[in-house]
Amino acid sequence: MCLAVPGQILSIEQADDPLLRSGRVDFGGVVKVVNLAYVPEAEIGDYVIVHAGFAISRLDEAEAQAVLKEIAALEDVSHEIS
């Protein structure tokens, strides 16, 4: 359920309207206008997770990198063992 994909904010309009805040979001070359009212903290350049035309979450890039590092460490373990 809840197909949602990460995209990067290119521009923001009606930034302070609690219903109409919106912006153009880039999904790897495809751009869509998306409602940003639920991510008041998100800025141009940020990644957001978009579902049904709405950004439902600002993507935490630090956390994203940390996970990838954690997995890279696992890979090393894996290599050592096998």
Binding site: C2, L3, V5, F27, G29, V30, K32, V33
Partner: protein, 349 residues
């Protein structure tokens, strides 16, 4: 875990008493409509060739003959329009038999209210595409239907081509061990069309791949590549094309997911909509079947041509079997490639 289940009996077509969009979507509903209704109604050996064009003996000459209806929306889209599509699609079906396209026909069904200027643009684009291929539209027809009984313009084109070589290019030519090549990246036509549709409102630079493959096929034949089978990718995408050929030839096949070129923009659009690019429509791509020994020669010719620049080997033909197609992914897992039911519908959940 073993979840391999066999179909015990096929589902009857009669379950929908009416035609729904899915019957035209290039998926299993369409196959069933064709297999259970259309082919039996018209039964004849030429239809049984199950190829893009029928290969006919006319006074000792081998002719290819094909027809297609074009109902694309919007009529004008990035990379082409219905006129270019209608001509290229028919040229491609002729090319899939290795025929040199000679003559085209066009039947127009125009909706009342259609701008005369738009009609002129479409006709010009049909003619340009026909001329570029060294062919001409030699006979035609025009009908007008009432407002609300059409969608601007429908075009049915037919084509006649001459087969000047001795190969039997078609599903029956596929052999165990054949390499499966793809002439370029996939999914662009479907994404270009969808991006232009009202209601979805994508901005994208994706252009339809709409193109005439007959020149490229001609080059391959000229270079002496012994082609076993060709098929252009249209509705239902790469998956439908390969699945049809597997079914019709009776060979199992395997594709390598990583080898299939998809551009980031096409991938991005597919992610948003919940689509699988393997099932998205194309209008200027083909799969090619040939012995492994001629692959290098074929790739040389393909890569030298603008329409084959990204060509790649994407799989191989396995043993004779039940015509199953496996898709091997990056994790080494092979999943069964299945026709979608009707059209792919955008997913939300």
């Amino acid at each position: 875990m073993s979840d391999d289940i066999r179909l015990i009996c096929p589902t009857p077509i009669g379950q929908y008493a009416q035609i729904v969009m899915g019957h035209g979507g290039g998926g299993r509903m369409m196959q069933q409509l064709l297999e259970r209704l259309v082919r039996p109604a018209f039964a004849n050996p030429h239809l049984d060739q199950r190829h893009d064009s029928a290969v006919l003996d006319v006074g000792g000459k081998r002719l290819a003959f094909t027809t297609d209806g074009y109902v694309v929306k919007p009529l004008f889209f990035p990379g082409g329009d219905i006129g270019k599509l209608a001509v290229c699609g028919t040229l491609n079906d002729l090319a899939m038999s290795g025929a040199k396209p000679l003559f085209l026909s066009a039947a127009l069904v125009i909706e009342e209210g259609f701008p005369v200027d738009d009609l002129a643009r479409v006709l010009a684009s049909m003619n340009a595409a026909a001329q570029a291929a060294g062919t001409a539209i030699v006979t035609g027809d025009t009908k007008v239907v009432e407002n609300g009984k059409g969608d601007g313009l429908y075009i049915a084109t037919s084509g006649i081509g001459l087969i000047e070589h001795d190969l039997q290019i078609g599903p029956a030519g596929i052999r165990e061990g054949d390499a499966i090549l793809l002439s370029g990246d996939i999914g662009r036509h479907g994404v270009a069309i969808i991006a232009e549709r009202e209601g979805l409102g994508f901005e994208t630079t994706v252009e339809s791949d709409c193109a005439d493959l007959s020149g490229l096929v001609g080059e391959l034949l000229k270079a002496g590549v012994e082609l076993h089978c060709l098929r252009d990718l249209t509705r239902g995408g790469l998956a439908a094309a390969v699945l049809e050929l597997a079914t019709d030839s009776g060979f199992d096949m395997e594709l390598n997911e990583d080898a299939i070129p998809v551009t980031p923009a096409v991938r991005g659009a597919c992610e948003i909509l919940g689509f699988d690019p393997l099932y998205v429509a194309n209008e200027g791509r083909m799969v090619l079947f040939m012995s492994a020994s001629v692959v290098d020669l074929a790739l040389d010719v393909l890569h030298a041509h603008p329409l084959g620049r990204d060509a790649a080997v994407i799989g191989q033909v396995g043993a004779a079997g039940e015509g199953r197609v496996g898709l091997r992914n990056a994790y080494g897992i092979v999943r069964v490639l299945d026709l979608p039911s009707g059209e792919q519908l955008p997913r939300i959940c």
